[in-house]
């Protein structure tokens, strides 16, 4: 099973019923506000709010945590690296500052809060509708198309890479941390790039033959109800309160 972000796009929740365009605006502002927080305590509040939105979206928490474990793995080294200070003059010395662990914690909390918020933002509508909403918000068509088709074909290419690895193993290849293995990985990635480029050309031809002119057209018609604006107001107010709290009160 592929790790599609929109696997739960067809269930029903207040977040699912929110107009995709306003949802992206609301969550976008919230994500920026969280990224600018300067104190671990306020980042923790931001994370709590992200989980609240996730809960409202009814997307299963284990599904989200399963995807975020890679983010946590990537952030773990910060707890070891950030407290270390290396001084080269007048002589080499290495010191450990416990206070910098707070910085690592702040980075981790902010990243987690954003990572969790992405799921109710993009996982509560079919991905192409979210991209259509981005297009309607004025994002450049080229970027929207690049994201849309990267997402659609990411899994095709992952499958292809998996098949190439199986084929290599079937011929006795055992991957390891050596020069030959890296060369084989290089060949596989290179072949993937070539075939994906060629497939991209074929996909574009297939789209053009069906009248595609660069604009995404879907059956979904945007009908914004008062409830959509109310949800936007609530999320924006939370982002504002979080920012003010970070600057004025918290910590």
């Amino acid at each position: 099973m592929h790790p599609e972000i929109d696997r739960y796009a067809h269930i029903d929740s207040p977040i699912h019923r929110w107009d995709p365009g306003l949802k992206i605006v609301g969550f976008g502002v919230f994500v920026v506000a969280v990224a600018l927080l300067s104190k671990p305590a306020s980042a923790f509040v931001g994370l709590a709010f992200s989980f609240l939105l996730l809960s409202a979206s009814k997307i299963p928490v284990p599904f989200v945590l399963g995807r975020l474990k890679f983010l946590l793995l990537a952030l773990a080294p910060f707890f070891l690296l950030l407290p270390v200070t290396v001084v080269s003059q007048p002589e080499w010395s290495v010191t450990w500052e416990w206070s910098r662990e707070w910085l690592a914690l702040l980075l981790t909390l902010r990243a987690l809060a954003i990572g969790v918020a992405v799921f109710p933002m993009l996982g509560t509508a079919p991905f192409h509708l979210s991209m259509k909403a981005l297009q309607d918000l004025g994002f450049p068509k080229t970027i929207v198309q690049a994201v849309l088709f990267s997402y659609r074909y990411l899994f095709v290419y992952l499958d292809q890479l998996r098949r190439m690895r199986v084929a290599a193993r079937s011929r006795g290849f055992r991957p390891g941390l050596n020069r030959r293995s890296f060369r084989v990985f290089g060949y596989q990635v290179g072949m993937l790039l070539v075939t994906s480029y060629e497939q991209t050309e074929r996909i574009l031809k297939a789209m053009k033959s069906r009248g595609y002119d660069g604009t995404i057209r879907t059956l979904h018609a945007s009908r914004r109800a008062p409830a959509d604006w109310f949800k936007l107001g609530a999320v924006l107010a939370t982002a504002l309160l979080l920012t003010l709290g970070d600057r004025l009160w918290i910590g």
Binding site: P126, R152, I203, K205, S209, G211, R217, T218, L219
Partner: protein
């Protein structure tokens, strides 16, 4: 060109950017309501011919006319594409939307049909290929045969007068292949089918064009072309031993 011509190629040449010749001085005429098979070895230029016909490649020399209009004229390609569709060899290239229904309705929406009409056409096309109830399925989770049917539905939904097929039976299991042959046989549109499938050419098509080295070297009724074993071998094809029995004629030897 008479009024009954759906597609015509006049001395068309095309070279790929790396210099490889795709077509060289190629002539071909497809009449409306006929089902023409393009038969030839790999590299004969069959796919290139289809891409040129749909305006997806531009010829170096020669002229291509679709429904009496030269494709070189302003806006002619876009108008021609409203009357013709192409089903690609690899369904993964053609089926790219998140759901089957979104994919089938992609073409009608691009041609600015009303949502109601586009909806109706998409449902009708899915019904034609026997995929009713597949509307919300994720294309990447379908079998190869099902994806091929979706790809066909995406083109049928545009209700084209001419459908171009690139190797439609490649990779299908026997059942999927027979179902597709039945669909093609029942089709009322003009069909141009690039294929290696002798049975398809014999059973479905009204005429066969034999291609080799970027040119059409012979055209004629399927039996006449497919039973000429010597000519097939001259142009890099091997007649399957069972084909004469299928065609109801005595096998001959070259």
């Amino acid at each position: 060109m008479d009024r009954m011509t759906a597609l015509s190629f006049g001395s068309v040449s095309y070279h790929y950017p790396d210099g490889t010749r795709g077509l060289g001085n190629c002539d071909l005429c497809v009449q409306t309501a006929e089902r023409l098979a393009l038969l030839g070895p790999n590299g004969a230029g069959k796919t290139t011919l289809l891409l040129l016909a749909d305006g997806l490649l531009e010829p170096d020399e020669g002229s291509i006319e679709a429904f009496g209009v030269p494709l070189g004229e302003d806006g002619a390609v876009l108008r021609a594409r409203q009357r013709m569709g192409i089903v690609f060899q690899n369904a993964d290239d053609q089926v790219f939307c998140p759901t089957v229904f979104e994919d089938v309705i992609f073409g009608p929406l691009n041609h600015d049909l009303s949502p109601e009409e586009a909806h109706e056409r998409a449902h009708e096309a899915l019904k034609q290929v026997g995929l009713e109830g597949y509307e919300n399925r994720v294309p990447q989770h379908l079998s190869g045969g099902e994806k091929r049917k979706v790809a066909l539905a995406t083109v049928l939904a545009m209700q084209p007068d001419l459908i171009l097929f690139d190797e439609p039976t490649t990779g299908l299991d026997p059942r999927g292949r027979i179902e597709l042959l039945d669909l093609l046989e029942e089709s009322e549109q003009t069909l141009l089918i690039a294929t290696h499938d002798f049975e398809l050419a014999l059973r479905v098509c009204t005429r066969v064009a034999l291609m080799d080295k970027g040119r059409v070297v012979a055209t004629g009724p399927p039996k006449e072309i497919l039973m000429d074993r010597a000519r097939l071998e001259t142009h890099g094809l091997v007649q399957p031993p069972w084909l004469p029995y299928l065609a109801g004629v005595e096998p001959n030897t070259p």
